[in-house]
């Protein structure tokens, strides 16, 4: 009974915390961007502006939730739901601290990769169902970008998998007790972070919603609650990638003094802050640059990393016998 209650609590926590972080990010990101750009950002509503989140939420819920008459209605409604489901369900396989996980699957990483591919569907369907040229262009770009970045996103993780000998995120984090994987797997770390940025469609890679060329890309036609879901989905996605970077490369819950869960949260927030810093610093890539960068630099790099890691691990095993 107690075990069941504990499990239920964990599930609720895993559902609620990413949402909380994501909605907090709508304010936190603006404040951080402002900090990097010598401004203040939203600081009027409540202490330091935190209630801006509530104000924004209220505003967006009050807006008319308009489905354009030319849109493909069922798909149009379905698309924003998919992105939330796909990103949120990936949190289930994360292990936040010893014993705190919804389901530490032995194929956790594969599950995450599959789910992040599912999120592409949301963008594609949104663009397609909108029946709008800008939305379609946005989703075309999204597909091109996410498919090509997913390739080496998966490959960059394989080094970690080889070293830890498991696809389970819990086991991978446990293997980092003495040395975080960001040291031996520095290439994988960098490649995964970049791929993660592309996966969440954040600024150097925000071509699918490039507002200066495509209005708002794939969610041009969305408003009200559905738009809020896309927005939240993006922030949940950032949280997810940050949590994964933490779990895979930054030693997850390992850390002195503080309790493991706090360490995990802290590291995740630092990674998120880094993502925001990147957004503040870098301009948007051109599409051909994006593709060239992905296929000509990142893919060979991650392949090489995989090769070297495999060789070194084999060599070490050879030494043992």
């Amino acid at each position: 009974m107690l075990e069941l209650l504990r499990q239920a609590l964990i599930i609720i926590g895993v559902l609620a915390v990413p949402f909380l972080i994501a909605s907090g990010l709508t304010w936190g990101e603006r404040r951080l961007l402002a900090l990097f750009q010598d401004r203040y950002g939203p600081n009027r509503v409540g202490p330091g502006g935190v209630l801006q989140v509530a104000a924004d939420m209220f505003k967006i819920l009050m807006k008319e939730d308009w489905t354009p008459p030319f849109a493909d209605r069922p798909v149009f409604v379905l698309a924003p739901a998919i992105i939330i489901i796909a990103t949120l369900s990936s949190f289930a396989v994360l292990t936040f601290a010893p014993g705190i996980a919804v389901a530490d699957l032995n194929i956790g990483l594969l599950f995450f990769l599959a789910m992040s591919s599912m999120a592409v569907y949301s963008v594609v369907l949104a663009g397609w169902a909108s029946n709008n040229k800008y939305a379609l262009l946005g989703s075309l770009r999204a597909v091109g970008q996410m498919l090509s970045y997913e390739v080496f996103m998966g490959l960059s993780l394989m080094g970690v998998v080889i070293q830890a000998g498991s696809f389970s995120l819990g086991t991978i984090t446990r293997a980092q007790q003495h040395l975080w994987f960001c040291v031996p797997q520095v290439v994988g770390f960098v490649v995964f972070t970049i791929a993660g940025l592309a996966e969440t469609r954040r600024i150097p890679f925000d071509l699918p919603e490039a507002e200066s060329e495509l209005v708002a890309g794939y969610h041009t036609e969305y408003s009200g609650l559905k738009f809020a879901m896309f927005f939240l989905g993006e922030y949940v996605g950032i949280t997810l990638i940050a949590a994964l970077v933490t779990a895979l490369f930054l030693g997850g819950w390992w850390g002195p003094v503080l309790p493991p869960l706090v360490w995990f949260l802290l590291k995740t927030l630092v990674v998120i802050a880094f993502f925001i810093l990147v957004r503040a610093a870098l301009p948007r890539l051109r599409f051909d640059q994006l593709m060239e960068f992905g296929w000509k630099l990142m893919l060979p790099l991650s392949l090489l990393n995989l090769l070297v890691t495999g060789a070194v691990v084999l060599w070490q095993e050879g030494l043992r016998f």
Binding site: F36, Q37, D38, Y40, L282
Partner: protein, 171 residues
């Protein structure tokens, strides 16, 4: 690649720079005295209205937001019967101030004119007229103009000689 890292680092150091935002309602930027803001109608040093209702400001105004009507009092001084500026149209270009021959209409460094309704932005003469002289402290049109009004005849203005009797033979 290195330049990208450099950029990121550079932007990061900005986190420790002083913020440039002026938090407006609490702190205000000092405005130069010639700042073009809310328009006032000034009075001359004697406390009389400067405006002679010549309509020049109304004519020069590019958006046509000044309306006034000319009248005269019993001493012969011209003054506007009403003087209306629609600030919801005014673009604060300052042309009216330049056109005014009597330095009556002046723009002031005040921009806090927000209202909840549009009609509230239409300022009447009572709202525009101030008690001071504005930017030009000593200027008094009727004291330098050759115009005869009640209490001041021709030739009594500053730097003015009494009129010459052109038909007279005396030197």
């Amino acid at each position: 690649m290195l330049s990208i890292l450099h950029t990121i680092w550079n932007v990061f150091t900005h986190a420790f720079h002083r913020r440039v935002t002026v938090r407006y309602p609490e702190e205000k930027r000092p405005l130069p005295p010639r700042w073009r803001g809310r328009i006032v109608l000034t009075r001359d040093p004697d406390g009389a209205e400067r405006c002679v209702a010549c309509q020049l400001c109304s004519v020069v105004c590019p958006v046509g937001c000044i309306a006034l009507q000319t009248t005269q009092d019993e001493t012969g001084r011209r003054y506007p019967a009403f003087f209306r500026i629609n600030f919801s149209r005014c673009i604060f270009c300052g042309f009216c101030e330049e056109a005014c021959p009597t330095c009556a209409i002046q723009l002031t460094p005040d921009y806090e004119m927000a209202e909840y309704t549009r009609p509230a932005l239409v300022y009447e003469k009572e709202d525009l007229l101030i008690d001071g002289t504005g930017k030009y402290h000593d200027y008094n049109y009727y004291r330098v103009a050759g115009l005869a009004i009640g209490g001041k005849d021709k030739g009594e203005a500053e730097h003015e000689q009494p009129p010459v009797d052109v038909r007279g033979l005396l030197p």
